[in-house]
Structures are given as C-alpha cells and as structure tokens.
C-alpha cells in the first residue's frame, strides 16, 4: 500500500536501531566515504547487511557515494561489483556518472535517483529512466505539485521525504575536520559523531552540519499533511535520519507508520497536536515544511 523508509549508515547502526516502523532501509552514508564502517565504502559488510535487513522483512537499498572524484571511482566500482552479486532490492545514485557506470556494469536492479541527483523536471526524469531509474527523489526545492507532475508525466515513482532535516549542501571536503584543526589528508577523527551546528547571531538562522553535508536546522515535518499526501496517491515516503539518535528514528517512524496506516485505511487523522508536540520535542531547531508549499524551506505551514 505504501512504503516508509529511512537510512542506516553502518553495521553498528543497523544492529543498534529499532527499524520496526519501516518497510525499507537505504544503507550507506552517501556524503562521506570516511564515515566509520560506511556501507558506501565497505563491500565486505554488504552481504551480512542485505541478509539482516531481509530477515527483518524489509527491503534493502544500497546507497552509492554522492560526490565521487576520479580517484574515488575504483572504490565505488568495488562496492557496486559486490552489490551486484547480492540480493539488494536496488541502488540509490546521486551522481549521474555512476548511472552510466551501473548501466555499463550490466546492472538490472532498480535504481533510485537520490536527493543530490538534481532532478527538477520530467524531461530529466525521462533521461534517467533510460538508465534504469525507477524512483526519483525530486530536488527539495520542488513543490509537492511539481513532484506529482513529474510522477504523472514521466511517469515514474517519486520518493517523498516526510520528516527529518533537509539535505541542502553536499561538498567534497569535511567542514568539521577543516574547522576543528584537522589537516588535509589527516585521518578522520569522527568528530561528526557529535552534533555540529551553524547558527547566525543576527536572526534565528540555523543549519546542522555533518561534515560533508549541510542540513536544514529545522526538521521537515509533514504529519499535518499526511491526508493530502495519500489523497495525491503518493506511496513512497522517507524519513531522513542521518545524524539522529536511535530513539529519534524509532519514534518518528512509529508516528508516521500510524498516520499513514490510518490515512490509507480512509480514517481521518484527528487531533495530531500531541504527536506534533512529540516530534517538536525531538527537533532542536523546530519544524518546517521544506519547499512543498512553494515557500522558503524553513517555513512551517500548518493544516488549514
């Protein structure tokens, strides 16, 4: 009926987390190959991971590194080679060059275009579809109506993020390493294990930084709009949880699982204020709706 998914970076996180609310897991931290035991960089972990996720009755999608330089391509190739021989349910690709590579390596698994695939139009969706892409994560700047237009006019499956911080920037260097005394080429000290924030003294602007990626300060929250999403016949939903605690992942998943189950059963959502309070309590910098309603990403638009 619907699929609720989230992301898991490493075997440790997979073991530690409660993913019972989710139907599918995107494995790997796509912004940083140095992230400890990242599925994106360690082909040796992939067989166990796929088996574990399937044993939980969930789909396992493997994420590929989003910003590979020329010298990263051999590492990514090894990961793809290992994954092609394993029962993964698909790849997530952010880099168009890797689409080319997957095609030439004979991939037949479904491919999902990730958030940094820069998808803005149905014309581009048709191009990537020719490379085996079956699902796209439209650029966060697109409104809900634009995402639906792309789904209907390509046609192609679209992934709709419903909760979590919005990925805004991905870069090839680690901002945390650079700004905490790390030298170029020096080993990563995994300082991103601690939450890092960018805040602006004048005004309440905030961003969360995970090193190679900058995320929105506020958490995207679509709980008040679940009925609108289901009415639009959207059915693939995603919780962005990179850098969040196991409690966050479990709680957010449970809330949205219940909300979508009710909505797809035709039940009204009712009073969501207590659940919004709970989600708000997990969001250090507040809630927002991203760009879904045509506004600046950090705005929150309640149900009218």
């Amino acid at each position: 009926m619907f699929e609720l998914s989230t992301n898991v970076a490493s075997p440790q996180q997979l073991r530690r987390g409660d993913f019972s609310a989710y139907d599918a897991l995107y494995l790997g931290e796509f912004s940083c190959l140095s992230y400890p035991n990242n599925f994106c960089a360690h082909p040796e972990f992939l067989a166990d991971a796929a088996e574990q996720v399937h044993a939980l009755g969930k789909k396992a999608y493997l994420r590929l590194f989003a910003v590979p330089s020329n010298h990263d391509l051999p590492t990514v190739r090894k990961v793809i080679e290992a994954a092609l021989a394993l029962p993964f349910d698909g790849f997530e690709v952010h880099n168009l060059g890797l689409l080319q590579m997957l095609k030439e390596m004979g991939n037949t698994k479904p491919i999902h275009l990730g958030v940094f695939g820069n998808l803005y139009t149905d014309a581009t969706a048709r191009v990537v579809k020719d490379y085996g892409v079956t699902r796209v994560y439209p650029n966060p700047e697109l409104s809900l109506d634009e995402a639906i237009y792309i789904r209907d006019n390509t046609p192609i499956d679209v992934l709709i993020p419903v909760h979590g911080k919005i990925p805004l920037v991905v870069a090839e260097t680690c901002f945390i390493h650079e700004n905490s005394g790390g030298l170029p080429g020096e080993d990563c000290k995994f300082k991103c294990a601690q939450e890092h924030w960018l805040t602006r003294a004048s005004g309440d602007w905030s961003l969360k930084d995970t090193g190679c990626m900058t995320l929105s300060g506020a958490d995207l929250c679509m709980l008040e709009h679940v009925e609108k999403l289901t009415a639009a016949k959207l059915n693939a939903f995603y919780v962005q949880s990179h850098g969040e605690s196991p409690e966050y992942i479990a709680t957010v998943g449970r809330i949205y699982r219940d909300a979508f189950t009710k909505a797809f059963a035709g039940e009204t959502e009712g009073d969501v204020q207590p659940l919004l309070q709970e989600l708000s309590g997990l969001a250090k910098m507040g809630l927002c709706n991203g760009y879904y309603f045509g506004d600046a990403g950090r705005r929150y638009v309640g149900r009218t």
Partner: protein, 323 residues
C-alpha cells in the same frame, strides 16, 4: 559590457536571458538586447552563447525550447544549460548547436562528463577546485570541450556549485508572470539570485560549544595566473571570466589582462609570467571590493525577505502557527 569585452579580445561572450539564467534579472538581457549583441558579435567574427542554465519547472519546458529556437534563428550557436532533460531535448531539436553544461551540473568526475556528453553536451564547465590532473583525465577519457573559471577557491570551506540550496532554505518566493513563466526569488538554480547566506557571519561548533565565531561558510575565490599554462596543457579549451555581478570596467580590465597573459603563453614553451603578478594583485583587490559590496547587498536582501516572512509567521519553531 559585451562590446567592451569583445573589444578587449574575448573570443566569445555569454549572455543571460531574463528569468532563465542563474542570476537575478539585473544581470540578464532582454530578447532585443540579445539579438543586438548577436548581430554585433557576428559582425566582429565573434561568438555569443546564450545562458539558459536555470533548472526550470517541468511546465516551462515548451517555453524554454521556443526560446532556444528563437535565439538559434538569430544566429546563436551555443547554449549553456543545466537541466539534463532540456539538454537532450535541445540536441534533438537543434543537433548542430553547441551545448555547454553549466557549473550547476555539479560535475565531480569523468564518468559524469561521459554521461553529459552522451546526452548532448559538447562542452562542460568544471567546478573551481578540480586539479590539473583531474582535468587532464577528464579530457583524455571524454574528449569533451573543457571550460574552467579563471578563479578558484583553493582553501577550505564548502564549494558546491549545483549542490547547494542554502540560500533558498532561508529566502524563497515563487511567482508566475503573465506569460506563465515561473520566477524563483532566492534560488540561483531556479533563476533567482543566490543570496550569499554562506558569506554571512556564522558561529560553528558541536552543540552549544562553538569553536568558530563569525566565520563564513564558503571562502572567497581568487583570480589565478601561474597555473594557467598547466591548465591549458591539460586540455582546457575555454577560460571564463565571470562578468555578472562585476562592473563593466573591472571585467573589461580583467579580459584585457588575461588576453595578454594568454598571448604570452602561446608565444613560448616556458612563458615568463612574472610581469603579470603585480597587476594581478590590483585586480584581486578590486575583485574583492566589488564582491564584498555585492555579497552585502544580497545578504541584506535575504535578511529583509526573512523579516518579511517572519512578520507573516511567528517562527518555524512554533508549529501551531497557521498561514
């Protein structure tokens, strides 16, 4: 400015179309102006390339293609495009035009470039931090025309052309004009100005223990010189001087300067560029001053827009507010 830079030795000039390039309208040209520039450049045996590098809405694509056909009919032979789907459509419609992919395509490796080439790109603009070795490998493995900016950001900070939505997260508005064209304030990717929020002053650190105060997220780029022979040897075909957001006189002087540098490089296998270093320092200073003025103006706009939005809505932190 177009006439000035062609007079100073630029081989080609890029012109942005109002509403369709990655900058605000004040740096873009109307159709009449574009036609005039094309005629003028053709009379001088030079080339005009039309910049239509926004990432448009799906519904704007027919309008986008009409525009391209119009400019091609006027004699434009090259177009700068970011959207891969639009690129393929243009190449199908007008197989003889050159398609230059914008820096907004966010190329990171040679496989990216092969993908773009296979979907219609004849030239790619590479991001600022690529090394000579990376450029040489891309050229060797793809054969595509290579363009680089004549400035770079060698030191730290985030650089992510085509992979950054920081500006629009804080300030963004969308509206349709009478022709049905979508306009997006605050998003460079969608045709508005990037409001340079990365150039504002930020505090940074783990949780509440800030380790840096008043820092910018992105460092300022600088014009370069001594690396130029190596870049040309690596296969760079086109060197770009960014003209938007700068004064006519500064751009004119920079073009004049680099024309002389390139002529010197072409005269010798071991060109002596030492005489250009001092003038370059002056350009650095002028560049920095103009950039600072531009950044402050845009950050001011972002703040005003944020305040306007905040007046309408108390705060993103308060989920109970209903618009």
């Amino acid at each position: 400015m177009c006439r000035l830079v062609l007079d100073e030795g630029a081989d080609a000039v890029y012109v942005g179309v109002v509403g369709w390039s990655r900058r605000g309208a004040e740096h873009e040209l109307s159709d009449d102006e574009i036609r005039h520039v094309i005629d003028d450049a053709q009379a001088r045996g030079r080339e005009v390339r039309v910049v239509v590098n926004t990432l448009p809405s799906s519904t704007e694509i027919p309008m986008f293609l009409d525009r391209i056909q119009q400019y091609a009919g006027w004699g434009a032979r090259g177009f700068m495009i970011s959207d891969v789907g639009c690129m393929r459509l243009v190449k199908t419609l007008l197989p003889d035009v050159a398609v230059h992919t914008s820096v907004g395509c966010g190329v990171t490796n040679f496989e990216d470039v092969r993908f773009l080439r296979d979907n219609g790109a004849t030239h790619v603009v590479l991001p600022y931090r690529m090394t000579v070795e990376e450029i040489a490998e891309i050229k060797q493995k793809t054969g595509v025309g290579i363009e680089v900016f004549l400035f770079k950001t060698p030191s730290g900070g985030k650089i992510c052309p085509g992979k950054c939505m920081m500006s629009s997260y804080f300030s963004y508005r969308r509206w349709l004009d009478e022709t049905g064209k979508d306009h997006f304030y605050g998003s460079a990717s969608r045709g508005g100005d990037c409001l340079r929020v990365c150039q504002s002053e930020w505090d940074f650190g783990p949780d509440d223990a800030f380790i840096r105060h008043g820092m910018t997220i992105k460092t300022n780029p600088a014009l370069w010189l001594d690396e130029l022979p190596a870049y040309l040897a690596a296969g760079v075909d086109c060197l770009k001087v960014p003209g938007r957001d700068r004064s006519d006189l500064l751009v004119r002087d920079i073009v004049r300067f680099y024309r002389r540098v390139l002529d010197r490089i072409q005269e010798s296998d071991n060109p002596d560029l030492s005489g250009f270093r001092e003038p370059l320092l002056v350009f650095h200073q002028r560049w920095k001053v103009e950039r600072g003025i531009r950044d402050n103006r845009l950050i001011g706009e972002a703040e005003r827009e944020a305040r306007r939005v905040e007046r309408e809505q108390v705060s993103a932190k308060n989920f109970e507010v209903v618009i």
